[in-house]
């Protein structure tokens, strides 16, 4: 099976899965995994036995994407590269795709399922970074105006742009939203949709997730407030609303694992989240996050970063080590 044939099958799966007539997911994922193993030395090194089910496919920890060339795309091949933000230190990880076709198709398809429709004039409290997967996804949704630079929100510019009387799509990270709210802005135009994504990743701020969404409702009064869970290492996204589970697409399998042993946990148990993303054809299906969540029939409940002891001794932790380099 070639890469192009697998891409065609995945493309077909995306459409067919929404009308209940897709081929079985597990055999397709296992076939993709075997193809990836042949073309990715990193994945091959981490695969002890031929997996017989999805949960046996190695999930590459996000922490080593910055250290190793994960995926099937060679460094000298033409590719679209998404880089991680590097907020946890130690350099930036790279997610290489030969083309963005699967990424774009699945992102738009699942957004249409979850959001139905949205205003196509977009105000993004985001950097216009060509290597940002979040920026790439946002561009798919409409005509974007960017209001952040170097991670700092252009509050005045955004406020001016938002002072209109037609509906807008506001795309923002949690941190940027918190910063914007501190300016006591007026409500968004009627009919607007606000999409918030990402946590604070250790950046100090006085609002936690629930408080942030409550403050957003109170101050910005968006007609629709949606939450998005995505990451550079994934091609697919999960969508939710405040207080509800995130919905993964049918081509994205979520698993909670025991963070100590790495063993998958039964559905409904809280653990370290892993995702198996069929659209990660060019990289690797399995991605292990540092987030904690619970996978249920309703979707994925996100609890934030994996918990650690309040005090971790007097030696260096991961983030401190990189800060002190």
């Amino acid at each position: 099976m070639t890469r192009d044939l697998l891409a065609q099958r995945i493309h077909r799966f995306i459409g067919d899965s929404l009308v209940g007539r897709a081929e079985p997911l597990e055999p397709l994922m296992l076939e993709v995994h075997r193809w990836q193993r042949r073309h990715d030395p990193v994945l091959n090194s981490l695969t002890a036995e031929d997996p017989q089910e999805i949960a046996q496919i190695p999930a590459i920890p996000v922490g080593i994407w910055k250290d190793l060339p994960v995926g099937t795309v060679g460094a000298d091949e033409p590719s679209l590269v998404f880089h991680t933000s590097g907020t946890t230190g130690g350099g930036r990880g790279a997610h290489r795709l030969r083309t963005s076709a699967l990424y774009d198709h699945n992102a738009l398809t699942w957004a249409r399922v979850c959001l139905k429709q949205w205003p196509t004039l977009i105000v993004a409290l985001l950097d216009d970074a060509p290597d940002s997967s979040l920026g790439h996804m946002t561009r798919l949704f409409g005509d974007v105006s960017w209001y952040a630079k170097g991670g700092v929100v252009d509050v005045a510019g955004a406020r001016t742009h938002l002072a209109v009387d037609w509906p807008l799509f506001v795309a923002t990270t949690a941190f940027a939203l918190a910063e914007y709210l501190e300016s006591a802005p007026p409500p968004l135009p009627a009919g607007s949709l606000l999409m918030v994504t990402g946590g604070f990743k250790g950046r100090v701020h006085r609002l936690d997730g629930d408080e942030l969404l409550a403050a957003t409702r109170a101050v910005l009064k968006p007609d629709r407030l949606v939450t998005e869970y995505g990451m550079t290492e994934l091609s697919s996204q999960l969508w939710g609303t405040a207080g509800a589970a995130f919905l993964p697409a049918p081509w994205l399998v979520a698993v909670a694992a025991d963070p100590l042993s790495g063993r998958p946990l039964p559905r409904g148990e809280r653990g370290q989240l892993r995702f198996y993303d069929l659209c990660n054809l060019d990289s690797t299906l399995g991605v292990e996050t540092m987030d904690e969540g619970t996978v249920t029939d309703e979707g994925v409940w996100l609890h934030g970063r994996l918990p650690g002891a309040p005090a971790r001794g007097c030696s260096l932790t991961v983030e401190e080590a990189w800060e002190k380099r």
Partner: protein, 334 residues
Amino acid sequence: MIARVRAWRDHLRTLAPDGTSLSPAGAQAAWDVALDALTDDALATAAAIPGAPFATACVVVAGTVPTAAIEWCAALALRGTQVTVKHPTSHPGLLPLLVDAARSVGLPIRITDDRSAVADADLVAVMGSDETVRAIRTAARADARVLAHGHRFSVAWVTGDDAFHGLAEDAALQDGRGCLSPVIAFSPREDALERLAEACAAVAARWPTGDVDAIEGAEIRTREALARVTGAVRAGPGWSIHLLPLDRVVPIALPRSVLLVRCDDPAAAAQALGLWGRHLSTVGTDDDAAAEAFVTAGASRVCRPGQMQRPPLVRVHDGEAWLHTLVRAIGRER
């Protein structure tokens, strides 16, 4: 006062340390090591250091090196200083044991989780992150002496057969979370991975690993994946060794998990620490010539493997004769 400190030490020896994240056997080992340092001779030497004691001291400790407060309390109390130990909120660990024992022998030691205690002290000693140190400096009185011991790490350079067992003990005490725990072991030995694995297995059988939290577990498995691709892994119940190439060195403390690097040249090993060398505490080595490379890189203490976690009371710590910092030096000119 020195007699009371001896009585306190002897009373502590009769108690079972619990309330820590260490396993019972691991906690007992850490407890014994901490009390072993309080020899009669060491206490006498500490009491004889010239200078005037501070009236009050506040010692701010990290929660997961549970025995760290013992030597501070001993060294301060034997000079008559009233000691308050400030612990992380809701994590008193072993401190109630220390205080109850101190009360029974009449030593002025108390504990609190209230940071405002810092403002009342003439001397403040703080162990913790840069953020904690900054906060404590701000909270301390302007005229107080503040001794800051930020987060540090230690490494080992081992060559001989006997050194591996000592190294494994050093890595196991405090479950590897202390600043004296060897987070990286360098060795020129081809069989270093096997030798260290044998030693770690033997030590783990004696001192099982305690609690490991979720983020630590995930970080260990992340580094394990890196080692599977670029090096090798040996692991047993609660312990692991990740063999990585020299250019993958990152000095992270992970419980009972040692980063092992095969290297023929101690200078290259020390150089690989780069700017992290500024935060290097101890080098444990059985090769005196190799030690100098790590001293040049930033280490302030050199000892044998097996002694890294067993520092004597009278020593240099973080580049200072620490006992001398606990009193006010007096110049008497005639």
